[in-house]
Subunit: 243 residues, 2 copies
Amino acid sequence: MPDDHWTPPPVLLAVDLVILTLRESVLHILLVERGIEPFLGALALPGGFLATDTEDILAAAHRELREEADLDAAGLHLEQLGAYGAPERDPRGRVVSVAYLAIAPGLPEPVAGTDAARAAWTPVPEVLTHRVRLAFDHEQIFNDGLERARAKLEHTALATAFCTPAFTITQLRTVYEAVWGVQLDPRNFHRKVHAVEDFIVALDAERRDGPGRPARLFTAGSRSSLFPPLVRPTPTATSEVLP
Amino acid sequence: MPDDHWTPPPVLLAVDLVILTLRESVLHILLVERGIEPFLGALALPGGFLATDTEDILAAAHRELREEADLDAAGLHLEQLGAYGAPERDPRGRVVSVAYLAIAPGLPEPVAGTDAARAAWTPVPEVLTHRVRLAFDHEQIFNDGLERARAKLEHTALATAFCTPAFTITQLRTVYEAVWGVQLDPRNFHRKVHAVEDFIVALDAERRDGPGRPARLFTAGSRSSLFPPLVRPTPTATSEVLP
DNA sequence: TCAAAAGTGTTGTAACTACACCCATGA
DNA sequence: TCATGGGTGTAGTTACAACACTTTTGA
């Protein structure tokens, strides 16, 4: 603790968001094109500074989610990733950023909210293969967020946050495949999901699009931690991992 | 992002530490008695404010570890838990704290460093049963830190951070039992630990104290992630969990 | 020779992978 | 009746808990 005559140096607090969703079976992240220096024109995670002296950090994340992505808080997963505070991470001065991971159900079109005109869903493989470069230390934050999402799919019901209220088991499997970047056996997946009580509950409805047997519709159950867990396949030398 | 004429509100940045160690087979946490208001006289996590404008947050954690606990950075585990920034968490004003989890090998006596005169190792069960109350939101941070440590024992070699450079398998098992608060079968534990390649490597030495067959000494190997993992026993209705 | 602690073998079970197979629908 | 996708059955394998058993020491 400091002594009475010394005042600690103040810092500016920002919030940055890793917002993930599924679009046409591909994992996407919401990125914005920066309109001001530094990194003018570069892509970055949506985010911003704390609005007032008394704003809660989680509330700030919710606000940015609304302002920059036009996404409502209701029914959307939001959790903290951590604080990023290297002294030189922002050339404007000492800015510490608290990063959040948000998961949204698949949205039909790129959002067009107030500040969100420049916001665009970007395929995650584009970022992973460095075809897209991010401003600041946002690539680090993105990597941490993606790894958090991948890990939490194993032990929690996070996958349902990617889905609309009613979904088929195949849609749920597509979530796992897109986030993990692997192929899963549909038949074993079907049973594993059913083996966890209250992970998904059957609705009294079916979905019939194209040909093939109609699929039962489900909704997220009350269970939040999965047992037995759905473990990621261990990458072997022979197995192929999608980018 | 803010417009050019508006300045975001500054906050004060603190660092708080959850420092865990094992003392006589019981998990302990380092707590300090507060010497100033608020919460004067109450127990709290060691920590303090950022020292300078340009100090890295992780460096600040290392500095507090040295100042408040007289612990050297070398060979000690330190990882970030997250940011705690509720507006009313500190009555003095807007203080955002970045919490860290530190794991230290068992130390013979309560540390007596510069600021650490009032620091004391406190048994974790005392805190869990609310016989010890913590200042600010430090109980929340403590719970998050403990859960992080418990979870990481399963999948990483974190347990070796609790041990001196040379340790027996029984000592390693004691770490798991103390942190998880369960009893483990010594024979199955022995094999599971050996099944993970490079988790522990045998030294050419034995330890012989009291009666009984001398135990082989080991040291931490190069492996950091454990496969197969050492999974916590699922608490059942009949099983007893130590406080 | 006994107690204590280290370490090994064995057995039944749970959960998994891989794949053969059956079911229900639209064209 | 065929292609397409949904869903079930089964066999071999891995990891595991439980516990009987052997080994090596100090007193």
